[in-house]
Subunit: 459 residues, 2 copies
C-alpha cells in the first residue's frame, strides 16, 4: 500500500504544486495588522482543502488570526491518534527591493541543478505544512481513508509570538489531545541528511523605548547639553555583551546547563565548521561567546540580539536633530531551564539601571517561551528514524535548533504529548529574508517522508 | 524719513503677512529630492518679489537647488554696499502626526497673549528673510529707492549642507562682493533682548553604514554566531563619549581654545540656568561635558551627536532578524580652529579601529564647515547695537551660537567681508521640529529693526 501512495505522490507532483501556489499567493503576514483579512482568507482556503480530503474542518476565530482545525477518524480504531501542527502565516517581506521576484507570485526556478519554489512562505511554513497534507491526500485517494487518526491544527500567528495559541489549547484540550504531535517547521541537516530536532531554544521578545526631551531638538542649539536618547540606547545595547561575548544581564545564565560531553561529541561528528556555516551568508568568523563550539552556540547557548533599532532622522540627506526618543527591538534565545519572565525582568532592570536622570523608558512585550528538550530516543523517534532512513541517502541527525517553536512546549506541558519535529527546509532557504525559497526536492521527498512516517506509526 | 518707513511697516503688516504666507506654502524641502520642483518655484516667487521692489533679480540655477540674486543700486553712490543673505529652503517635516496643523498651510494663531505664525519655515528662515525684504519695500515705497546699495543672495540648500554655495561664491566673486554682509538666520537672546551673534559653531556631517552578512538572517538560526551590525554600531556610538562627556576620538580637541574668562563672565551675567534652558523641552540636567557651564557648552565647546540611527526591523510587531546592515547619521559641532576634514578623518579612523573582522563600513559625507569667530566690536557692530537698542526694550547681547551658518566663514575667507548676524527667532520656535512658528512680534519688529539698521548704515 505504501508503495502505491508513494507512486501517487510522484505522479501528482504538478497538481500538488499548483495547490501550494494558490496558498502562497495569500499575503498572510501576521505581524502587520494591514494583512488581517488575508490571514482569514488563507485559513478559509485551508479549511476547504482539508474538507476535500474528508476532514471535518473549520476556521476557528481568535482575538488574533484564526486557527484551522480538522479531524479525520482514519481507517482503524486501534491506530494511534496524531496531531499535526503547522502555521500558515508568514514573515513580512520588506525590504521589497531586494527580492528578485514578487514575494507573493510563486514560481519554480532553476538554480544550478536544483529546482526551487520561490515565494514568501514557500519554506516557512506553507510549503512544509503542505508536504503533510499532500501525504494525507494520497492515502485518502489510494485507500479511501487515512492509516491513523489525524487532527490537524494550523496556526496564523506563529511569526508574531502565537498570542492566541495557549488560550486555544487550554480551551480545546479534549479536542486536540492526541497520542503524538507531529510538527513540520524545521530544516534538514543537509540536502542528503534529514533531521529530527530534539532541542529548541526559547524566545523572549522585548521592545525598549528611551525618551528624553519632549520634542526633537536642533542639535546645534541643544547639542552637548540635552540628553540624546540614541546615545543612551547605544550605550545600553553596547553593554549587553562583554568582550568575550558573554551576556552581562544579572542572573541571565540561571538555568543554563552544560551540554553532556557525548552530545557535544556527536555534534562535532556532523562536521560543521564556522566556514561551512557562515560562508554562505558572507561571514567566516563566529561572533558571540568565544569559548564555545559553533553548534553549541546555536543549539545549546542563550543569546541576546538586537533585531531592530531606530531613532532620529532616517531619511535621505541629513537632519541635525536630537531625537526625542529612540527604540530597539531585542530578543533573547533561551536554553534549558532559563525562565522567560525572569529574563524579561532582569533585562528591564538592566536598562533602568543605566538610564540617566531626565530620561524615561517604556517597554513592550513581544512573546515569551521557554526552551524545550525532547528525549534523544523513544518509540516515536524510532519510527521516524526508520522511515526517514528509507527515504533519504543518510539516516536522520538528532539535532538542536536555534529557533523557537513554542507550541512544542505547550504540547508537552498542557497536553502531555511528545512531539516529533521533522522538516525539509534547507539552510539556504532564506526564511525571514528576501528571496525565500523551498527546494522542489524538499516538497516532493517531504511528502514521501510523511507517507513513510504515517505507515510506520500505523504498524 | 526713518519714522515714515517705520510707520509704513506698521500700517502694512497685514499685506506683509499675506506675502509671507504665499512663500510659506511652497514645500521647499532641500534635503529630499522629491521637492526639487518646489524649491525652483520658491526661487521664482522670490525673484518676482525682488523685481517688484526695483531689484534687477534672477534665478540662478546650480547643480542643486537654485540661488536667487538681486541687485539694487540704492539712492546714493557714497553709501555702503551691503549683501543680504537668507535661505528659502526648509527642514523636512516628519513626523507629520506631531504637527497640530498642516506644516505648509500657514496660520496666525493665538498662543497665550502672543500671536504666532505657524508653518514649516516660518522662523527658519522664510519669516526671517522677509523681515529684511519688507524693510526694503517700505523704503522703496516711501523714498523711491533704498538708503544703501543692496545685493540680495537667497540660498536653497542651507538645510542640506550648502553644496553649491562655495562654487557659486567663487564664480561670482566680483558680483557678490560688498562692504558688509547682513545675515538674518539667528535668534534673539529672549523676547525683550535682541542679539548679535559673534561666534558660530562649525559642522561636520557623516553617515556611517556597518555591514556584516550578505542578507538579513534569522536570529534563531544565526543568533550568537553571526556578527550583528546593530551591536557593532551601538558599541562604536557608545564609545564616542567617556563617562565625563568628553569625546574620545583621537585629536578631536586639536584647535579648541579656552574661552577668555571675561567672555565667560559676560555670559554668566545673562542669567541663563540649566533649568531655564532645559525645562521648556522637558529636561533639567545638562548632559555632555561635566566641567563646563551651560552657555560655554553650546557656544564654545564641540560636540558629537547621533542624529539618526536605523537597522533591522522597525515596523509594528516583531521580526527576529539579524540585520545585514545598520546605519547612523552623526554630526560634530566644531569650535575655534578645529579642522573639519581632520575631524572627519579622525572619526572614520575611530570607527575602523572598532570594526570586527567579517564586517565592512561605508561612509558618506554630509557637509563640513569650520567654526567662525567674529569681532566683539567694529563699526558694523556699533551701528547695529545702536539701531537695535532703539527698537527693543534691552540692548543686544553679543552671543555665541550653537548652530552653524557656514556662509559667514565663506564671506570672511572668500570675499573678505565682515558679517552682521541679527535675527528675531525665539528659542521656542521649534525650528527643525514639528509645530515650527515665528512670533508675529518677531516678524513686525524684525522689519522695524532692519529699517533702523539700514538707516544707521546709511549715515
Amino acid at each position: 500500500m505504501l508503495a502505491k501512495v508513494l507512486s501517487r505522490l510522484d505522479d501528482n507532483l504538478e497538481t500538488a504544486l499548483s495547490r501550494l501556489f494558490e496558498l502562497l499567493r495569500y499575503k498572510s503576514i501576521s505581524t502587520d495588522p494591514a494583512f488581517k483579512d488575508e490571514c482569514r482568507k488563507t485559513a478559509d482556503w485551508l479549511v476547504k482543502d482539508l474538507q476535500s480530503i474528508g476532514f471535518e474542518a473549520s476556521r476557528r476565530d481568535t482575538p488574533g488570526h484564526p486557527m484551522v482545525v480538522g479531524h479525520h477518524a482514519g481507517a482503524r480504531a486501534d491506530a494511534p491518534h496524531i496531531l499535526f501542527y503547522g502555521h500558515y502565516d508568514v514573515q513580512p517581506f520588506d525590504p521589497l527591493d531586494l527580492w528578485e521576484d514578487d514575494p507573493f507570485d510563486p514560481k519554480v526556478k532553476e538554480r544550478g541543478r536544483r529546482k526551487v519554489i520561490s515565494a514568501r512562505g514557500s519554506s516557512d511554513d506553507k510549503g512544509q505544512l503542505m508536504t503533510f497534507i499532500e501525504a494525507l491526500r494520497a492515502y485518502k485517494a489510494e485507500t479511501g481513508s487515512l492509516p491513523v487518526r489525524v487532527t490537524v491544527l494550523l496556526e496564523g500567528e506563529e511569526e508574531s509570538g502565537s498570542p492566541s495559541l495557549q488560550p486555544f489549547l487550554q480551551a480545546h484540550r479534549q479536542e486536540l489531545k492526541a497520542d503524538y504531535a507531529l510538527v513540520c517547521d524545521t530544516a534538514m541537516w543537509d540536502r542528503r541528511t534529514p533531521s529530527i530536532a530534539v532541542g529548541l531554544r526559547g524566545l523572549v521578545g522585548e521592545e525598549v523605548i528611551i525618551k528624553a526631551a519632549n520634542r526633537d531638538l536642533h542639535s546645534g542649539h541643544y547639542g552637548g547639553v540635552a540628553q540624546n536618547p540614541v546615545h543612551i540606547l547605544s550605550r545600553i545595547l553596547a553593554d549587553l555583551h562583554d568582550e568575550n561575548g558573554h551576556i552581562t544581564i544579572e542572573g541571565f545564565y540561571d538555568g543554563v546547563e552544560e551540554t553532556p560531553r557525548q552530545v557535544l561529541e556527536s555534534w562535532q561528528k556532523l562536521g560543521m565548521t564556522a566556514e561551512s556555516f557562515l560562508n554562505p551568508v558572507g561571514l567566516s568568523i563566529p561572533a558571540g561567546e568565544k569559548d564555545r563550539s559553533l553548534l553549541e552556540l546555536i543549539w545549546a547557548r542563550p543569546t541576546a540580539e538586537v533585531n531592530g533599532i531606530s531613532g532620529g532622522y532616517e531619511g535621505d540627506g541629513f537632519k541635525t536633530v536630537i531625537a526625542a526618543q529612540a527604540r530597539a527591538k531585542v530578543s533573547f534565545r533561551l536554553v534549558h531551564k532559563q525562565n522567560p519572565q525572569k529574563i524579561r525582568e532582569a533585562f528591564r532592570a538592566f536598562v533602568r539601571k543605566r538610564l540617566p536622570a531626565d530620561c524615561t523608558v517604556e517597554f513592550a512585550e513581544h512573546g515569551a517561551s521557554p526552551a524545550i528538550q525532547l528525549p534523544f530516543d523513544s518509540a516515536l523517534i524510532s519510527a521516524a528514524k526508520e522511515a526517514l532512513s528509507e527515504e533519504w541517502e543518510n539516516p536522520p541527525a538528532l539535532i538542536g535548533m536555534g529557533g523557537s517553536i513554542p507550541i512544542v512546549g505547550d504540547f508537552q506541558d498542557k497536553l502531555g504529548m511528545e512531539s516529533l519535529l521533522v522538516g525539509f527546509a534547507l539552510s539556504d532557504d532564506c526564511i525571514h529574508s528576501p528571496n525565500e525559497k523551498y527546494d522542489l526536492d524538499s516538497f516532493h521527498k517531504g511528502q514521501r517522508s510523511w507517507a513513510r512516517i504515517l505507515a510506520a506509526l500505523a504498524k
